[in-house]
């Protein structure tokens, strides 16, 4: 694991893996690491919440363990499960070999790490230092939040048959939410909070340049200008995020263009807009800007 001593140094580490973090984000990440607190990231879709976790793992040179939340996820899918099929197979093998079976020893073997299926949260505790990404926590239900709060408050898990598993160094925990539902206050109080906004023009150019160095500077700037204008107008059903900007710039580049021309822009509109209602307005904007 790489170390750093200030937000600026962390920002440099992130920049080395092509993630452009502004001062605020770097400071909050630094605090999360220093205070050993989970980091709760909220923001519009496509502003780089999930990408931050990946970048942190790369920058600090530690593994990333991802837990994607969904409706109905429960502790078994997040923590651990016993590999029942293999346990049975083990018993059958013992039976078939016909030797004397030492009951205590056999039970001990059945509930050993050999038959334990470590799910993301447990894996993060075992492998720590690691980055644990809990993605889209707003999709899970209240019970799961309560379970997560319990695990995140002391970074340990007790398995009745096996004992307590504690992380020597707590994992770096990143939670993301799209705010489709309010996450419970207790969980938020446990975390450091950061709201990621859409970046301004220069920063977005910087981000796209970092991610797509092969795309010409001029094309990048034009693409970002159009996207920024669309965001300022706020007339679309779904505003494009940075992820869409990157997709669009790459799409135009793949057509072999160095500049944003009207025909190429029209052909690649699908990278930018995912709604039929938006396409019409986009056409108008592009005609005005480029046509």
């Amino acid at each position: 694991m790489k170390t750093h001593s200030s937000p600026a140094e962390l920002a440099d580490l992130l920049a080395a893996v092509d993630y452009v973090a502004d001062e605020g984000l770097a400071t909050v990440c630094h605090l999360a690491l220093a205070l050993e607190r989970p980091l709760m990231l909220e923001g519009e879709p496509g502003t780089g919440k999930t990408a931050l976790a990946t970048a942190l793992a790369d920058a600090l040179d530690i593994p990333l363990i991802r837990l994607q939340c969904y409706e109905g996820i429960d502790a078994q899918q997040a923590l651990y499960d016993w590999d029942f099929a293999r346990q049975i197979l083990h018993l059958r093998t013992l039976e078939a070999s016909g030797g004397d079976v030492d009951v205590d020893a056999t039970e001990g073997v059945l509930h050993s790490e050999r038959f334990l299926l470590a799910r993301p949260v447990l894996r993060a505790l075992q492998q720590s230092p690691a980055v644990l990404l809990v993605d889209e926590i707003d999709r899970a239900d209240d019970e799961f939040e309560a379970f997560l709060l319990e695990t995140l408050s002391d970074y340990q898990v007790s398995i009745p048959e096996l004992g307590t598993i504690r992380a020597e160094t707590p994992p770096v925990v990143v939670l993301t939410s799209n705010r489709t539902r309010d996450v419970h206050d207790a969980l938020k109080r446990r975390c450091l909070y950061h709201w990621i906004d859409h970046p301004d023009l220069d920063r977005e150019v910087e981000i796209v340049r970092a991610r797509l160095p092969q795309v010409s500077e001029r094309l990048t700037r034009r693409v970002v200008e159009v996207v920024q204008r669309l965001r300022a107008e706020n007339r679309l059903v779904k505003l494009p995020g940075v992820a869409e900007t990157i997709d669009w710039a790459r799409a135009v580049h793949e057509l072999g263009r160095d500049e944003l021309e009207f025909d190429a822009a029209l052909l690649t509109l699908g990278a930018l807009s995912k709604y039929r209602e938006d396409t019409e307005h986009l056409r108008a904007v592009l005609t005005e800007q480029l046509g």
């Binding site: 109905g72 909070y193 209602e277």
Partner: protein, 366 residues
């Protein structure tokens, strides 16, 4: 803890108290101080980011925080202000305040601002000044939209609920017939359709604008699930216009398609048009229909009653919002209101922002 941190501790605690009074719910003073200890507590930016990460818990919080931070630390060196002065002032008592940083006064303002928003929520939207109306418009973004749900016939796996026999058996097969945990399932849920009918006749003029804002919020929250119509002398579909993200533009667009804004009322005919042309064909089928009207009917109320009865049979629930319902001395005396009352599942008020929030709850529950 380093010396400078101890020096500004009182200052920071005062700041946290002010934030709490401004309505932030996740202020964690101890965490804030611990965060400062990791940074440079004399640097304005570091204080700002440490505070934002530890004292806020939602974008709304960030907004309040930004304003209060600007006021509290405006031009004042964080380290120089005597801690005690600020803390006492912030907790409400007014001293002589010899060095008088503007901070505390502004804090007072902010607390007032927060309480003004509270007052605004309970004001009749018909009597708002233009400035107040602008403030209220900003509140819509924070309104929590709740939609009705319906259970469909399909089931989905879930960690509790009824036992899924087939899935349990399949899981057993995988384990060579050995007993194992039960599998459960539940009914799948889908958002219910909603239709909002807003009366835009003259008698409803002060409320119609706010109701369309509410409808705009609903359309944005559940695109494709919510249909919005206006009723005056005729029926107009405004869903498409309201689909624009920005509320002001959406309202202008809606205004352009509504030909009978602030005109007369032919409620019965408008409702008939809705039931015949839209409702029966699917928009109202199994939907929660919200009708916003004061029930002033110029024509014959019997047609209105007949259509309301039709609507109730087609729709899942009919919620009638009458702006006058929440006012003292309300009785459904208007001929139209009287006529539809037997066919309405819920009659709710709709004259203040607070009642809109209640309406959301009613809609979710029915």
């Amino acid at each position: 803890m380093t010396e400078p941190v101890a020096g500004v501790l009182g200052e920071m605690v005062g700041f946290c108290q002010a934030l709490r009074r401004a309505g932030l719910s996740a202020v964690r003073t101890d965490l804030f101080v611990a965060a400062l200890d990791q940074l440079e507590p004399m640097r304005r930016d570091d204080v700002y980011w440490a505070g934002r990460a530890t004292l806020c818990a939602s974008p709304d919080d960030v907004e309040v925080y930004d304003r209060l931070f600007a006021d509290w630390f405006s031009g004042v060196n964080v380290g120089r202000v005597p801690a005690s002065t600020t803390v006492t002032l912030a907790s409400g008592a007014r001293d002589d305040g010899d060095d008088g940083p503007q901070g505390p006064d502004e804090v007072e303002d902010l607390a007032m601002l927060a309480s003004r928003a509270e007052v605004l929520r309970h004001r009749d939207v018909a009597d708002l000044s233009p400035a107040e109306a602008r403030h209220l418009a900003a509140l819509y973004a924070r309104l929590r939209v709740r939609l009705p749900w319906r259970e469909v016939r399909r089931r989905e796996p879930h960690h509790r609920g009824e036992v899924d026999v087939a899935a349990t058996l399949r899981a057993r097969l995988r384990l060579a017939g050995e007993p194992g945990p039960l599998q459960h399932r539940r009914r799948r849920r889908k958002p219910r359709r909603m239709a909002v009918l807003v009366d835009v006749s003259r008698s409803m003029a002060p409320y119609a604008d706010q109701m369309l804002r509410l409808a705009h919020r609903l359309v944005g929250a559940a695109p494709g699930r919510v249909e919005v119509f206006t009723m005056g002398t005729r029926l107009t579909r405004v869903t498409r216009a309201l689909r624009v993200g920005d509320a002001e533009r959406a309202l202008v667009a809606a205004g352009e398609v509504i030909p009978d804004w602030s005109g007369g009322t032919r409620l019965g005919e408008a409702l008939e048009a809705f039931v015949d042309r839209w409702g029966r064909r699917g928009v109202a089928r199994g939907a929660v229909v919200v009708v916003v009207s004061d029930g002033w009917e110029r024509g014959d109320p019997s047609l209105l009653a007949q259509q309301a009865a039709q609507l109730q049979r087609v729709a899942h629930r009919v919620v009638w919002v009458n702006p006058h319902r929440g006012k003292p001395g309300f009785a459904p005396v208007q001929s139209g209101m009287n006529a539809v009352l037997p066919y309405v599942d819920q009659l709710v008020a709709g004259h203040t922002f607070a009642t809109f929030e209640e309406l959301m709850e009613v809609v979710e529950r029915v």
